[in-house]
């Protein structure tokens, strides 16, 4: 077994021992979807939403919620803690580079987010009869871009925070506006025009709209995908620029 595989395996085992992270990333989005679907009016077609039901709009929203929970809320304190506790430092005295530890965590949080997205879509389909995305490949692309943006945002938060406490605080501070822009309280399609124009410039607002387009069977517009992609570049750059190994 190669050293990086051993690190990934070990980190996966540790990840499975974090019930808090597992709940917020994997269970919470689907639970939220299930609860929203209990509201009868959310299950009736609404002419003002092009004949869609509210629950149809909420599947992409909880999918993004899973991604944001993983990247912005759960991951930054882990990465900061690894630096703060000297775990990265200890690893840098071994033949394995400490970056493999960070990579393992990023991969695992990304994987958990994608699993959660799939579960949420399954719940939507099986429980509330939400049709699967018409443009599956475009949907997957938007999903991957959103996940990368969330992980990059999380890495930037970890880079900027000196302690685990600070990164938890910044993570929560970033989480709420992210939840707003991706449409948890008000789906992006239902937002007033002026607000929508601004939200579509944010990474998750744009991703949300891209997912909606793909869900409806269209190829997501390049401008939305482009906004999210640009955020990825900026956030990865920021994380790389400010990350400190100790």
């Amino acid at each position: 077994m190669s050293a990086s595989t051993a690190v990934l395996k070990s980190e996966a085992r540790l990840f499975s021992r974090e019930p808090g992270s597992l709940f917020w990333i994997i269970a919470f989005p689907s639970v939220l979807l299930a609860i929203l679907g209990l509201i009868p009016t959310f299950r009736t077609a609404d002419p003002s939403l092009d004949g869609l039901r509210v629950i149809d709009l909420y599947v992409p929203i909880v999918v993004l919620l899973a991604i944001v929970m993983a990247g912005v809320q759960a991951m930054p304190p882990v990465l900061t803690g690894y630096r703060e506790l000297g775990i990265l430092r200890r690893m840098s005295t071994t033949p394995v580079r400490p970056v493999s530890l960070l990579t393992a965590q990023i991969v695992l949080h990304g994987a958990a987010a994608v699993c959660s997205a799939v579960i949420a879509m399954a719940v939507g389909r099986l429980v509330y009869g939400v049709t699967l995305p018409g443009q599956l490949f475009g949907y997957a692309l938007a999903l991957v871009l959103a996940a990368l943006a969330a992980l990059a945002a999380g890495a930037t938060i970890a880079a900027l925070s000196r302690t685990t406490k600070i990164s938890t605080a910044i993570g929560s501070a970033v989480l709420f506006p992210s939840m707003f822009t991706l449409g948890v309280w008000l789906p992006v399609q239902a937002m007033p025009d002026a607000l929508q124009r601004v939200v579509l410039l944010t990474p998750f607002g744009a991703a949300s709209q891209a997912l909606n387009e793909a869900a409806a069977g269209d190829w997501p517009s390049w401008s939305h995908l482009g906004v999210t992609a640009l955020w990825i570049v900026v956030l990865v750059g920021a994380a790389a620029r400010w990350f400190r190994w100790e």
Binding site: S2, A3, A6, V7, S10, G86, R90, T93, V96
Partner: protein, 319 residues
């Protein structure tokens, strides 16, 4: 041949020098101690040896490798136990040992290492649940797990109870017996005296002395202490005439003389001559503690100044 060579090492943090011109060489197979008060620059020095810090100036060579630019190669032959470095709280002892074994091409058998360090019954315990001493023993195991040629131990026995400390010393001696070079940072004199072949005393970022523990002790102003209660008072003049005595104190009716072996003989001769019996006569060797305090304590009102001068003198002599 020296396996670790440090020459004119300097490292400052925010303009304050932490290490200010440290030089020493560690021979292959020896246990070399770095001793010094808190904040003397010991940890910074070994961190430069481990390649965790880049020196401002000076050179460090470990087995012919440059610790920073040849870091990947260095990590295969150098094991390190760091100060203030934890593991993931939910990682168990066994998982940590297995994980770190997987990092090395030819790891030591972690099972026997765990046994030697008394960790066998804690293998399923999570790191966060371990006591301070158990954590420390796990760190020592991780430093040795790659079968290193050189092992750097920073504050080896901090947090260990006396029994565990003795066991750890024995382990380190065995490790050395198998040909491994040990660089040991400590502020615990007994440990240095017990384990080290040679010791560098670092004070205020400089090497204040470098010698065997015995050499350091004999170098102190008062390497032997003679204490006794004379059956009748001694003449001040007689006491003042004692050879090589650095101090004579009278506490109540007890006389305490600091000096050397020559002083001991002179005291005995004096007592015989005056036909005085010495009650509760004690002759004790100074310990490394005394030597350490001598080398690192500042005399006089200006702190650091006299020490800095003396340290500079010593470094010149050594160079």
């Amino acid at each position: 041949m020296a396996i670790i060579e440090v020459n004119g090492l300097r490292k400052a943090y925010g303009g304050r020098p932490a290490v200010d011109g440290v030089s020493f060489a560690v021979e292959e197979g020896e246990i070399f101690g770095i001793l010094g008060p808190n904040g003397a620059g010991k940890t910074t020095t070994v961190e430069c040896v481990e390649g965790l810090r880049v020196p401002d100036s000076g050179t460090v060579t470990v087995a012919g490798l440059h610790p920073v630019s040849d870091h990947a190669q260095l990590t295969r032959i150098l094991g390190a136990q760091l100060q203030e470095s934890d593991l993931q709280a939910k990682l168990t002892v066994r998982e940590a040992l297995e994980l770190y074994s997987a990092f090395y091409p030819k790891p030591a058998d972690w099972g026997s290492l765990a046994e030697r360090l008394g960790l066998t019954d804690r293998l399923t315990a999570r790191f966060g649940k371990l006591s301070g001493g158990q954590k420390q023993r796990l760190f020592i195991a991780l430093a040795l797990i790659g079968n290193p040629r050189i092992v750097v131990l920073d504050e080896l026995t901090t947090g260990l109870d006396p029994r565990a400390r003795r066991d750890t010393w024995k382990l380190i001696e065995d490790v050395r017996a198998s040909g491994v070079t040990v660089l040991l940072v400590t502020h615990f004199m007994e440990e240095a005296q017990h384990l080290c072949d040679r010791v560098a005393v670092i004070n205020a970022g400089r090497v204040a002395a470098l010698d065997t523990p015995a050499g350091l002790i004999s170098r102190t102003a008062s390497s032997t202490v003679i204490a006794f209660t004379p059956s009748r008072p001694l003449d001040d003049a007689d006491l003042a005439a004692l050879p090589a005595a650095t101090s004579v104190e009278l506490k109540d009716d007890r006389v305490v003389v600091n000096g050397t072996d020559a002083t001991v003989n002179a005291v005995i001769a004096l007592l015989a001559r005056r036909q005085i019996t010495a009650e509760r006569l004690r002759v004790t060797d100074a310990t490394l503690d005394d030597a350490f305090l001598d080398l690192t304590t500042d005399n006089g009102a200006t702190p650091s100044e006299p020490v800095a001068h003396r340290a500079a003198d010593l470094t010149e002599q050594e160079a």
